[in-house]
Symmetry: C2
Subunit: 191 residues, 2 copies
DNA sequence: TCAAGTGATGGGACTTAGTCTCATCAACGG
DNA sequence: CCGTTGATGAGACTAAGTCCCATCACTTGA
């Protein structure tokens, strides 16, 4: 395991975020990112499959956590309770350090179509993972779809609130899901 | 309004879909698409902003239809009924001709991450449009979010069924929304 | 102590997406 | 018949992303 300066990957992430904030995503080249990290373009593409991905690292881990969170929930509980377990499961990745960088990261993503595209795909991946995991629990295709979609909505809303208020993501997400669940219920009769 | 061979845009769409099916999306270059359409790369990029967009034409129109469908719904009806009006409004774009090309188009999209990404962004755009339109009706931020997300889910599910069975999209989508609505209701107590 | 192996990196050639600018050509109005 | 307009062609250019090979740091085993 040869190594010169360690943490090449993290250095690339930091360099990218800094540059994107300083001069914008579009005005930043991969070569520039690599250079600031003390590396080259070749090395960049060994760590990230494209220019966007440097902002979306570690989301594969989230997929696994969501899946195992749902599958690991007690067999007796319903789909939404299983989704809640999934939200709690991913909370371990929402660390202080992540919170520190999140505002800048979100600002960059929000300002670039190319990045919002990647973000949308990641969210769709979350929904897909939760749906598949729910199906494994014997939940119907329709119920799994609805529960997963409400789950993703809760993640999005919970994340937004976490950005503002901080605190324990598990608790924030739990409240967001409850909120969404009640809204979905009350939507029924409202004419 | 000078014109040589008419319908350049449609020719590009057809050429692209054919080539993507014949040799795959990744193995097809924009220059190839343009050449088969009897045009050049320059002209291609005047009609579509990138290589992906040739498969997603006319979705701006859908945004307008969704928005006006929701805003134009009777003021007395609830969020989900307004969403239903939006689904009915977009049905005019789901023509026989579109149905004919849809299977091949879906197959290409499903097989390429880059295209699934664009698809996810479009769906997120639908949700955003519906949410904003609902907000204009005075619907709360939370309720608008939930109703819009359920609406997009209904569009997705309705579209899948329309691909298989054909028929009137308005009716199919209406049924899909009703289905989703009932599922969301029954999800509440299920333990 | 040194030689071979391994894994991460550097470097450069190459293809293609996408932008930009300028020339051209067909239709249309007067 | 001429000037304008709008769509196209052509080609230069930048940067993303791929590929291949050389190189260097570190490890392992004799």
């Amino acid at each position: 395991m040869g190594r010169w300066e360690p943490d090449a990957r993290e250095r690339l992430v930091r360099a990218a975020l800094d540059l994107f904030c300083e001069q914008g995503y579009e005005n930043t080249s991969v070569a520039q990112i690599a250079e600031r990290a003390g590396l080259t373009k070749s090395t960049y593409f060994r760590h990230f499959r494209d220019k966007r991905e440097v902002l979306f690292g570690g989301q594969d881990q989230l997929l696994e956590l969501l899946t195992s969170g749902i599958i690991g929930a007690p067999p007796s509980v319903g789909p939404l309770a299983a989704v809640e377990a999934a939200l709690v499961a991913i909370a371990v990745t929402f660390t202080e350090e992540r919170l520190a960088n999140a505002p800048r990261r979100q600002a960059v993503i929000a300002g670039t179509d190319e990045l919002r595209e990647r973000d949308a795909l990641k969210m769709a991946g979350f929904a897909r993972a939760m749906k598949d995991a729910l199906r494994q629990r014997g939940v119907s295709e329709l119920d799994a779809d609805v529960a997963a979609e409400l789950g993703v909505l809760a993640v999005r809303r919970g994340f937004d609130r976490w950005l503002e208020d901080g605190g324990d993501f598990a608790e924030v997400a739990r409240r967001a899901l409850e909120e969404v669940r009640v809204a979905a219920a009350e939507l029924q009769g409202a004419e």
